[in-house]
């Protein structure tokens, strides 16, 4: 965490990337990854931001300053010799978007020509443009250029073809974009020349003698990341929640300055992250992914339904930087009494509805409730959770109940009862209101503290139903101990008998234990098990479910009965054993052990 408290005054974490600084770049990325892993986003150099990121309920993201000082990539300098077709490396810009640099070429090379030469007769100092050679099909001999693997160099035009066929400027300056991708980003300074060089004169010597060097310099230009959007900023780097919600906000990575001499500063987004202001809400959809390395992308369209901040990590002119955009406005609030509830139980004899009051309001940016706002609440039960691995769109998991469409009234605050469903598992309450940020709150419907009956030598676990419920032996620790003790005592009485077969107890979080067979699709979310909800009940097989044959003798059944009722300590007034000899209809006979 030390890196989060470095005391830096800027929000931007920069990572230099250059040919001479690869290790620094790598270390920077590793550091970034650690920050991501710990805090979930990059701006953890702020202690408060880091603390907010770790807090479960809300993130308070500071707005990044618009103007910041960013150290550009380092300058690169190389001495280019006079040798035709010679080259020297300058830098490595292994970026698909390239790097905008100021390039300079300083100095001259001297060309002396034999009078018998048919192509050029310079006999003078020439600059980077070199000497135009008619003999070599119009090429520029001895011109200096800057070579970039995949990006053009808009400046530094070819040498003149008309007289004078050379120039003598001591320094040439231009703004160019250089770069490559995929390990092919080495920028070089090159000397020109043609396939016919050197030209030999009648004396047998080369017709031209060249001497001297030129200095080539690349100076990456400074640019600070600037995250912008297609919405009006109501304050620096702050926009309002869209109204209506249906249109996405288009975010773009830009920079300050945005261009130099007409060239847009290269930039490429590396990651996008939406941080809801209210914890782990899943209302908004900002799923912009990082494109492949060969593809340049700097935009992202997100559907924003809540307060929060968008964080982008991007490479701007070769430097990795981070910026944020805050989205604010009114928002819906749900205040729960508790985030964990027991499931309801409804049978012909039991009507145990588990409820809690939920306070709903729409608040403005100062936190004051807004009167007469229309709010919609939708309930989403997590399919496949709490041991119910059967997922069928035609039979969605019950969610519980709450009023779903209402007005907040003159006080701006409404209190509604939420009633838990019978099955356990997380239920999300999603509340929205036009022009206001929505909110999602999760309630865990569960019977707490259930543990799994482990495999044991004295008993077998049966009843796992693939595709329906495979974790079917959860119960209270007391009940688990009773089952284990029952099996051990039974083993002592009948050491040669088959092990007891424990069928369904409860699901991992308790609640409704519905149909246990894929063939009983019409009974999903219904209750063939009337009990088995609280971790106090387990079925014990007395018959083979396939053949219907008894697998326990009468004496063995009697012993089980005695152990459960008399030998085991009394765990509950309702400690009992039921003999479902023909109950329920269609189910194989079994014992039902309670508490």
């Amino acid at each position: 965490m030390g890196e989060h408290h470095s005391g830096r005054s800027t929000l931007v974490e920069t990572v230099k990337a250059s040919s001479s600084n690869k290790s620094v770049r790598l270390a920077g990325w590793i550091a970034q990854r650690r920050v991501f892993e710990v805090c979930g986003f990059l701006i953890c150099c702020f202690a408060s931001a880091c603390r907010d990121a770790l807090a479960p309920t809300a993130h308070v993201l500071p707005v990044a300053p618009v103007v910041r000082s960013v150290q550009p990539l380092p300058q690169s300098v190389a001495i280019l010799p006079y040798t035709p077709l010679g080259s020297v490396p300058l830098a490595t810009y292994d970026f698909v978007e390239g790097v905008l640099v100021e390039a300079t070429i300083d100095g001259f090379v001297h060309v002396t020509s034999d009078p018998a030469a048919i192509s050029v007769h310079a006999n003078a100092d020439v600059d980077y443009k070199g000497v135009y050679s008619f003999w070599q099909s119009g090429q520029c001999d001895w011109a200096a250029t800057i070579s970039s693997p995949q990006l053009s160099t808009p400046g530094f035009q070819a040498c003149p073809s008309a007289n004078p066929q050379y120039t003598q400027m001591p320094r040439w300056v231009d703004t160019v974009v250089l770069g490559g991708v995929g390990g092919n980003g080495t920028i070089t300074a090159r000397r020109s020349g043609g396939s016919g060089d050197p030209e030999y004169c009648p004396s047998g010597q080369p017709c031209h003698t060249v001497s001297g060097t030129q200095t080539v310099t690349l100076t990456p230009l400074p640019a600070t990341i600037r995250l912008i959007s297609d919405r009006t900023e109501i304050a620096p780097k702050t926009i309002l929640i869209p109204d209506p919600f249906t249109l996405p906000i288009n975010f773009t990575v830009s920079s300050t300055p945005g261009s130099y001499h007409g060239f847009t500063v290269p930039r490429r987004a590396l990651s996008w992250q939406w941080i809801p202001a209210s914890g782990d809400s899943a209302l908004s959809t900002v799923s912009c992914t990082v494109p492949p390395p060969s593809y340049n992308s700097y935009g992202c369209a997100g559907y924003i339904y809540e307060r929060g901040s968008l964080i982008v990590s991007a490479r701007v002119n070769g430097v990795v930087q981070v910026d944020t955009m805050k989205v604010t406005g009114p928002e819906v609030r749900l205040n729960l009494q508790k985030t964990s509830m027991r499931p309801s139980t409804v049978t012909s004899k039991i009507n145990d509805l588990q409820s809690q009051d939920v306070q709903v309001s729409v608040v403005d940016t100062s936190g004051q409730p807004m009167a007469n706002k229309i709010v919609r609440i939708s309930l989403i039960a997590a399919e496949g959770s709490a041991g119910h691995i059967h997922i069928d769109a035609s039979k969605p998991k019950p969610t519980g109940t709450i009023l779903t469409y209402f007005n907040t009234g003159p006080t701006g605050v409404v209190t509604l009862p939420y009633t838990a469903p019978e099955p356990s598992g997380p239920v999300s309450l999603k509340a929205t209101s036009n022009g206001a940020g929505g909110v999602v709150k999760k309630i865990m419907i569960e019977v707490p503290d259930l543990v799994s009956l482990p495999a044991g030598a004295d008993y077998g676990l049966v009843g796992s139903a693939e595709g329906m419920h495979t974790a079917n032996h959860y119960a209270t620790s007391t009940h688990i101990q009773m089952l284990q003790r029952l099996a051990a005592e039974f083993r002592k009485s009948f050491p040669n008998a088959a092990t007891l077969k424990f069928n369904d107890s409860s699901l991992p979080s308790g609640g409704l234990f519905d149909a246990s067979s894929l063939s009983q699709i019409d009974k999903r979310w219904q209750s063939p098990h009337l009990a088995h909800r609280q971790g106090h009940d387990t079925d014990l097989r007395t018959h083979d479910p396939d053949t219907g044959d008894l697998i326990l003798t009468d004496a063995q059944k009697l012993r089980i009965w005695m152990i459960w009722l008399f030998v085991l300590p009394k765990a509950h007034p309702y400690q009992r054993i039921l003999d479902h000899d023909t109950y329920p209809q269609g189910a194989p006979p079994h014992f039902h052990l309670s508490y």
């Binding site: 004899k349 039991i350 088995h532 004496a555 005695m562 008399f566 309702y574 009992r576 003999d579 109950y583």
Partner: protein
């Protein structure tokens, strides 16, 4: 402590007729022996389910306040457990093959630290296990299956050693046991004159003990025993085997201390 082994056939009836399933029977609980070994007492029973019973005997329990040190079962179709009924240790036998009306069970026995005393028994007949319903709410009060579905009675059991183990204290305890045996609840001794004489012998023994006349005290206790019966198979008129097996071993313990 002197070892005494007494074997005799005795019987008493634990007979409560009722209509609650499991209690529709009359079971005779016979004490066939009481053994004293060191500070441990063992009691052996034979159970008989009378022919007019409607239920087959499924379980028999004897309270054992001195805790059970060993318990035997005749065969694999019996279970033998020691458990706590509320907080009271109880010796429990399960007759997994059931004891039908008119049938006699093999001997069962248990041992405990203590002296022969008066114990409560529970005899439970086979009653149908409930089959419905999983979602029945818990009963408003605790459903005591042992009490509800059992016939209770009294038999010779084992009391923990009293805190006062002096001859004086044990004589006082013997006097209480004798009075209980003669009482209307147990009626293990039905001849009131025998009861009067037994109590007189105890009082005399105590007087001799107090005077230091230990041999006279012992002789008086011999008279006490002879009033119970001439041997472990021959009881005096009006004296049941339960009275004999309750009182005789206690006298033996006292005599061993004189």
């Amino acid at each position: 402590m002197r070892l005494a082994i007494l074997v005799i056939s005795a019987a008493f009836a634990s007979a409560v007729d009722a209509q609650v399933p499991g209690t529709r029977m009359t079971v005779d609980v016979s004490v066939t022996s009481v053994t004293l070994r060191g500070d441990t007492t063992g009691v052996t029973y034979v159970l008989y389910n009378r022919p007019d019973s409607q239920d087959s005997l499924m379980m028999f329990a004897v309270d054992a306040p001195g805790h059970v040190t060993s318990i035997t079962r005749p065969d694999s179709l019996w279970s033998a457990d020691t458990l706590l009924y509320d907080v009271q240790p109880v010796a429990v036998w399960g007759i997994l093959g059931l004891l039908a009306p008119a049938a006699t069970a093999p001997s069962i026995a248990f041992e405990s630290l203590g002296l022969p005393g008066i114990a409560t028994t529970w005899a439970q007949g086979k009653w149908p296990m409930p089959g419905c319903c999983d979602d029945d709410p818990p009963p408003p009060t605790e459903d005591d299956v042992l009490a509800t579905h059992s016939v209770t009675g009294k038999t010779v059991g084992i009391d923990p050693w009293p805190s006062d183990r002096s001859v004086q204290g044990l004589l006082a305890r013997l006097r209480g046991l004798t009075q209980s045996s003669c009482g209307s609840t147990l009626l293990w001794i039905t001849d009131s004159s025998v009861c009067t004489q037994l109590l007189a012998d105890i009082d005399a023994a105590e007087s001799y003990r107090a005077a230091g006349a230990f041999s006279q005290a012992s002789e008086t206790l011999d008279q006490f025993v002879s009033l119970l019966g001439s041997s472990s198979t021959s009881f005096s008129p009006g004296v049941t085997s339960s009275a004999y097996w309750l009182l005789r071993p206690n006298v033996d313990v006292i005599k061993s201390l004189l």
